[in-house]
Amino acid sequence: MPEAVLLGGEQTTTAVEWVVFIIAATTTLLGSFGVIMARNPVHAALSLVGSLFSVAVLFLNQGAEFLAAVQVIVYTGAIVILILFVLMLLGIDTEEDLEDEPLRGQMPVAVGIGVLLTASVFALTQLVGFDVVTGTPEVTAAIRDDMPNINQIGRLLFTDFVVATQLAGVMLTVAVVGAVVMARRPREYQPIPEPESMDAPLSLDPTDQGADNGAEVAD
């Protein structure tokens, strides 16, 4: 549906937009790599801040001012701080050895999945190109220039997305209750059990369980 292209707001990309994109995309990627490569969790959290902040810039670049603000306030302002706080509280900011694979073959599998995911999205953009977006334009509500971004979002939240909004409220309640429950302390702890051996008895001959114990014999 080539019409989609025609309806997609302004058709040209300004040089500024490109420059901002390239810079922010680079920092996003760097930050993301930082999250998974950093041995120290604190460094990972700081990388995450960088990454999320860059994404906020990208939101701005795409005209989503409200989201950009929320991104900075909620993510970098609240979530990452919370994570760091827990990190410090529990003192688990020890470095971990990334070379040490907990499960054999986990690393290659993980990288394989990552490559597969990236490859599919890249293939999508390369094979289909500009026609990649085939959807009907303006299904829910057109983006308007004559109204502030936040107004448009607000209107949708309480019209088309009103159920979702209410549900989000319930979900946040659940999260809060859950966090409160988790913060309780039990009266007594049960001992941590010894790890069981992996070899459960496997036998297709159940006599090892039954025959000898069965004392009674009929007839």
Partner: protein
Amino acid sequence: MGGPITAFASGLLAQLGNDTTNGLVHESVQLAEGAPGFPLLPALVFTPLLGALLIGLIPGSRAELHRATAIITAVVTGVFSLYLLAIFDTADPGFQFVEATSWVSSLDIKFIVGVDGISLFMVVLTGILFPIALFAAKPEHNEKGYYLWLTVLMAGCMGVFVAMDLFLFFLAFELTLVPLYFLIGKWGHGRRVYAANKFFLYTMGGSALMLVAIVGLATMAGAGDDGGISFDLVKIANDGEISRDVARLLFVGFALAFAVKVPVFPLHTWLPDAHTEAPTAGSVDLAGVLLKLGTYGFIRYGLYLFPEASVWAAPVLLTLGAIGIIYGGVVAAMQKNLKRLVAYSSVAHMGFCVMGIFALNSHGIEGSVLQMINHGIITGALFILLGYLYKRRHTYEIAKLSGIQKVAPVFAGLFTLFMLASIGVPGLAGFVGEFLVLVGVFMAHRWWAVVAAAGVILAALYMLWAYQRVFHGEPDEENKGFGEIKLKEALPLAPLVALVVFLGVYPKPVIDRIQPSVASLIEHVEAQVPGFTEPTSQHGSELLGGDLDEGSGDGVSEDDVAGDDAEGAGAAGGPDDDEPQATLEGVTVTVTGGGS
């Protein structure tokens, strides 16, 4: 006790079976008010279930009530089955006493029951063997569960034999697994848990694909004018149209289940274990009734539903039957355990049944049905006797037994009688069925009959050898104290003795009832399979006639004259000869001509 039970049962059944139709072959279920009268067939299924329910409700402390309830239930059911036999219309080849009630309406699953000449005797066999097994054996612990499961098992067996709806049939077929599983696992001997698990998994594995086949059949062939789904046996058999290859595939699904149950040779390994470890009543019912579910299934759900596929698969199953006979015989001869020996002899005898069915002619199938009855009675009796033996000696080891004839002559005599019947000595029940099967197989595939006949000799070999080792000679210290059979123990065997002799001497009443249904089944197969005619040839009928009346020489010469022309053979053996009756040592064998 019996009064309230039956009253309650009939009340319940009046509720359940109020939409009934009686007729030759019901066409469709009339949901209008049906014929009044006692719903005999549902009563056969529900009386044991009701008994089971009662047993379940009686508290565990009242052990004697459990036994009484179970015996009364079984006897009442047995009486019902005998009454059924008495009022059965001999001339009618179709399904009788048909009762139909809608069950799952949206899938057109109905509760349809009916009996014809083939299932009639299976029902009667069930009705006789269960009470006898109950009388003959007592559990040593936990009576409640034992009697509960036995009555449930009886209901399941009855259900299989009277079902005329594929769904109902499958339910009953699968239902038999659970009670027997617990009977073997809880009240069995030795490696009982292993045997129970093996039994359960084998048979469940066998029938797993049958469910898929049933559903496939119901959706493809069951679709009538309305294009819906139907599980109605008669409707599918007569109106179902499915392509040849699909039908063969579905047949394989069914055949696997039955082959495991029979058991046919490579799938038989569960049987010796289950037989050997099962408690006496379990062995009796397993050998006497449950194995027949397979052979009965082959006739009703193999031959009747898939005539073409049956003809296609007949050579394979004939071969497997023959292998089973020889293999069962050879392995039985090598057994050190008496019960295991009888179990392997079952494999051999059931091989005869399978061969008879897949000879695809009336002699074969009639013989097969007869052999099922006989095997049920004989093996049942043998297992009861073995149960008595175990009670006295706590072993089945042949090596540990000797000279029992000296100390317990009546016991030995009874054993001899049933053993001879099992071997197939003329004048006793075992002979008639095997003979008819051999005749049928001979007509169809001459050389297989030769192989099968060798199996008869093997049977004599292993049985007599075992008998000699166990009963002859001098009793050693341990066997000196072998108590003679008590009257209380002998009484349950009395009907079986009578039956063995009666069926051996005068099987005509039985054959008279089987024959019309088998003839109609053969007709059905011939009508459904283009180009197929019953493999009855002059060889067969003349051989029979010649052998019995004039000697074998004539038979052979007629054989040469007639050649292999089946058509001519059918005509020659048909109306002209007008059902030759042959007599041999008191055996009356009625033989239908091929063309009839």
